[in-house]
């Protein structure tokens, strides 16, 4: 569904991604691990049209999407869910969700998706008129995910959903990712603080210093001494 071939990305003159290649199959969950500051977020942002300088080839369902802006990509069904949430602070929960359905293709499904999202996050239904800035960290995280779902996306790039979350909500996040995937949405998730999410992965990627250092299944990962060393300390 999503394929990257030798993708390079830059912030000004800083070379962040070096020949990154990966693929996420339709209906799968791929999880990307790796140390902080090594470019995991940049991979997601490059796919979603949020990085100015990207070279290489990015394919979505076989079509090249490299260089397209986020307004086109969201319309096509590719949505980014930011690690720092990026909500609209002085707007209500409902307005935030409605803006999630801003793209042309999502508008027709706004009502339907709103119901779906409220079923997934019942608390948001109760707090629909509350300002986003007054929500707790956990609720704001839920709102960010819900806003992403409002775009009617077929591919979600989810960036560190555990950031700023109380430990007891981590199970909840893993459960929600499972439910989203069960609805047929393909996911690429950057996350390494929630083992339950790694458990869900069909494919694992490890990004170190801007390059993919490991790609494979969970079973392969467990047999990899280098991975054991850096992530499990074994």
């Amino acid at each position: 569904m999503i394929e990257l071939v030798d993708v390079n990305a830059f912030y000004q003159d800083f070379h962040v991604l070096k020949n990154v290649s990966l693929a996420v199959e339709k209906g799968q969950i791929a999880v990307m691990l790796g140390p902080n500051g090594h470019g995991k977020s940049t991979v997601l942002k490059s796919i979603c049209g949020l990085v100015e300088k990207v070279s290489g080839v990015i394919l979505f369902e076989g079509d090249t999407i490299t260089g397209l802006g986020s307004e086109k990509l969201v319309d096509m069904g590719i949505t980014y869910i930011a690690e720092n949430r990026e909500l609209f602070p002085q707007m209500s929960v409902l307005e935030n969700l409605k803006l999630g359905a801003y793209s042309r293709s999502a508008r027709a499904f706004e009502k339907e998706n709103l119901e779906k999202v409220f079923d997934l996050f019942p608390r948001l239904r109760d707090r629909r008129s509350q300002l986003a800035s007054t929500m707790s960290g956990g609720e704001a995280r839920m709102l960010a995910i819900a806003r992403g779902l409002m775009s009617n996306a077929r591919f979600l790039a989810m960036d560190e959903p555990s950031l700023g979350l109380q430990p007891n909500l981590r199970d909840e996040v893993a459960r929600i990712i499972k439910q989203i995937n069960d609805q047929g949405i393909t996911l690429l998730v950057v996350e390494q603080n929630i083992p339950q999410i790694t458990e869900l992965a069909d494919t694992l990627y490890v990004l170190e210093e801007g390059s993919i250092s490991f790609a494979g299944s969970k079973e392969d990962a467990l047999g990899n001494d280098h991975l054991k060393e850096i992530f499990l300390g074994m």
Binding site: L50, V74, A82, P89, Y102
Partner: protein
Amino acid sequence: MVIEIADVIISGLINGSVYALMAVGLTLIYGVSKAFNFAYGSFYSLGGYIAFLLFSLSFINNYFVVFLLAVPILLVFGYFVEKALVAPLRKRDDWEIKVMMITLGLALFLDNSFQVIFGSRMKSLPPFLEGGFEAGDFYLSHQDVGIFFLSIGGILLFRWFLNNTRTGMSVRAVAQNPAGAQIVGIPKEFVFAATFAISTVMVGMGGILLAQKYFITPMGGWDILVKAWVITAFGGMGSIKGGLYAAFIVGMLEAFVGWYFGMTWTLIVLFAVLLTTLAVRPQGLLGKWG
């Protein structure tokens, strides 16, 4: 005495309402794109001159037609100014300063063009309503009432647009969180150009309204730029509500100071009040978007 004070209050309210319309426009651009438009005052004169030109056409003899034509002209003008001059700078370092410089250049260009085309003599527009209410010595012209309600109507219409339309919501979204707006797929560049265009209409309409009471001159916009700027800083950069309060305070202050001490004192008092306010509250009255 009582009637004089009533006149002063009315004058303050009417000027305040037009200032509010123009200050909301200025604070809109700043709130959404963090750009400061130095040509804002020249857009005020431009509105007046457009109306003057339209009236010089033989088949146009009422304000309804003038407004109907002036609004789209100003809208298109503002949109293309943003696209041609401001947008290309936004990708560069220190673009805010560069936008100030280029809009300053545009202001000088426009003002000199006005002088070349229309001459330096003052131009005036006919009043758009005749007659008035009379009660003894007290007189309130229909024109003043009309100007007041048109300005307030313009602001309310704008508020409605911000809160109830999809485009209005996307404008607020970009103002509150540009990165978030990009993530949900809002075309930021279009929103920047659209807000610039809307603010051009607001100040241009202000020019048409006030030109009926005062005059249109090639350099007349600078006074308006200074006032709109004072109001914006006074009310709080990017705060629409703050701008509204500040506009009426400035309108009233100007009217009372002008009446009591003479018109030469108005700007001095305005700046004194601004500096005092900013010394106590550097963010202005309501320094937040909303």
